[in-house]
């Protein structure tokens, strides 16, 4: 038990240290722009279709599950509000980050893990190349940028999916549905001209993207013992990322909405 706890604290310590080291190198982002662009493609474009598909069905599920209950009380015209708030506040950011943890996070851990066990990381060190600036910073920044972008898509397609269910299963017209969606997202907060439910969701996505990338890179660079070590690093990256996303989600939700 005590060894598990000490391992846990050692892991968290390593991840936090890595996060601080990445933040300290943020100034070299422009120099790393081509690496960041490459990572944006790897972690963004390649998972768009997954986010769209999952987002559509999540919106449909939320609409169906809540709509059927609301219709028992004749309140199904509120379905637009529920789907919009659910998607923008929670489901969009969380689902997108989870998809990224499973796809991009696992790939980051496997890629860096393979580099660790094949001595490529050691090679960078002996060449005095800053591994964090060269390898970790571009990956973390790309994930932090791409996660909110994909969340916008997830939110939008989820709302569309909810609309399809509202019309086909709950007899709520499309115009009524979209009116209630827009009405629910009218709490505009300064300094943004975005509804609070949207920008808080996007901020959460930004944090989730950074968190999952830091955790995945940390798991990768610590990999040892050949293929088995890379497998362990990948599993650890996905598991720890999802746990961290959920825990962070609670605290960010509490911070934004506990009033």
């Amino acid at each position: 038990m005590s060894s598990m706890l000490s391992r846990f604290f050692a892991d968290v310590g390593f991840q936090l240290t890595l996060a601080v080291q990445v933040a300290a190198r943020a100034g070299s982002s422009w120099r790393r722009r081509s690496l960041i662009a490459d990572q944006l493609f790897q972690s963004g474009i390649k998972v768009v279709h997954v986010v769209l598909l999952v987002g559509l069905f999540i919106g449909m599920i939320v609409a169906l599950q809540t709509g059927l209950e609301l219709s028992r009380f004749g309140q199904q015209d509120q379905i637009g509000t529920i789907v919009a708030l659910s998607m923008c506040r929670e489901m969009g950011p969380f689902i997108t980050a989870t998809i990224l943890a499973a796809t991009v996070g696992s790939a980051l851990a496997a890629e860096l893990g393979t580099m660790a066990v094949s001595e490529e990381l050691a090679a960078l060190e002996v060449m005095s190349i800053d591994r964090i600036s060269f390898l970790v910073l571009p990956r973390v920044l790309a994930a932090a940028i791409v996660c909110p972008m994909l969340t916008v898509l997830c939110d939008a397609i989820g709302i569309v999916g909810g609309g399809l269910i509202a019309q086909s299963q709950l007899n709520v017209g499309m115009s009524l549905y979209y009116d209630s969606v827009l009405e629910s997202l009218n709490d505009r907060g300064l300094p943004f001209e975005l509804p609070k439910d949207v920008y808080t969701g996007l901020f959460k996505s930004f944090v989730f993207g950074g968190v999952l990338a830091v955790i995945s890179c940390a798991a990768g660079v610590q990999a040892t013992s050949g293929a088995m070590g890379v497998g362990n690093a990948t599993r650890k990256a996905v598991r720890d990322s999802i746990i961290a996303i959920i825990v962070t989600n609670y605290f960010l939700s509490w911070m934004f909405f506990n009033t």
Partner: protein
């Protein structure tokens, strides 16, 4: 060359009573060695005896539990970060599996230390990379990805990367492991020619006697955490010492 160098006793790499353990496994236990400027020293030994561990101390990838490893008079365990950077720029390291980044071309791999640690213009980097690739006899691989290269070519590209900063010291970690005898022989001759042309100090970890014969001025056997039987390759191979005879046994056939 080695005789005159030894007379001057200009030591560039020094291990003094170095101890290193990983958990309960003791790898180095009182390891001592002096490598003279300009010589090629080979560390031989059975697999798993800590040859690579000894090599990694020289470039600061590992720190000894006890004892001192110094390069050009500077203790690698306590050296300041900037000084370590400067010292590493004077060393090249050839990894056992070449350790090329698989998402960069061979040329980009060789160019990497120059791009990342110098302000050299791109045209000059390109010229220098092409010159080093030609020097290691793979002039046409600049745009090839590492997975398109044979094992021997990858080793040569790894060697070109180690040479691109014009190092004074080259560390070879099993330079001929996993290669067939013909390619091993060509790599050995390349190492010897480079040492003669560039006047670099070489520290070579190997378990191939052919590599020692071709490239080394002196050789020692790492056994039980200590370096033993340090001598010239001829004396080493011809020794009647039972431990050495047992180790060399089938390697001489």
């Amino acid at each position: 060359m080695s005789a005159s160098v030894q007379t001057k006793r200009d030591v560039i790499i020094r291990y003094e009573d170095v101890h290193k353990a990983f958990g309960p496994k003791v790898v180095l236990a009182g390891f001592n060695l002096e490598v003279y400027r300009g010589e090629a020293f080979a560390i031989m030994g059975p697999s798993g005896t800590g040859k690579s561990v000894a090599l990694r101390h020289v470039i600061g990838l590992l720190k000894p539990d006890r004892g001192v490893v110094s390069v050009d008079g500077r203790n690698m365990a306590t050296i300041a970060r900037e000084e370590l950077r400067e010292l590493r720029s004077r060393m090249g390291y050839v990894f056992q599996e070449a350790a090329l980044l698989n998402w960069l071309t061979a040329g980009e791999n060789v160019a990497l230390p120059l791009r990342e640690t110098t302000r050299m213009p791109d045209a000059e980097i390109r010229e220098k990379v092409n010159a080093k690739l030609a020097l290691v006899q793979v002039p046409d691989v600049y745009n090839k990805m590492p997975n398109e290269l044979s094992g021997g070519m990858r080793k040569r590209v790894g060697l070109a990367r180690a040479l691109v900063t014009d190092p004074e010291i080259i560390l070879y970690d099993e330079p001929t492991a996993g290669l067939d005898p013909e390619i091993s022989s060509s790599i050995n001759h390349l190492m010897r020619d480079l040492a003669q042309q560039l006047h670099v100090t070489s520290l070579i970890v190997t378990h191939h006697i052919g590599c020692v014969r071709t490239t080394a001025d002196r050789v020692g056997l790492l056994d039980g955490g200590k370096l033993n039987f340090v001598s010239s390759p001829q004396e080493f191979i011809g020794s009647a010492e039972p431990r050495l005879v047992r180790f060399l046994g089938d390697k001489l056939d």
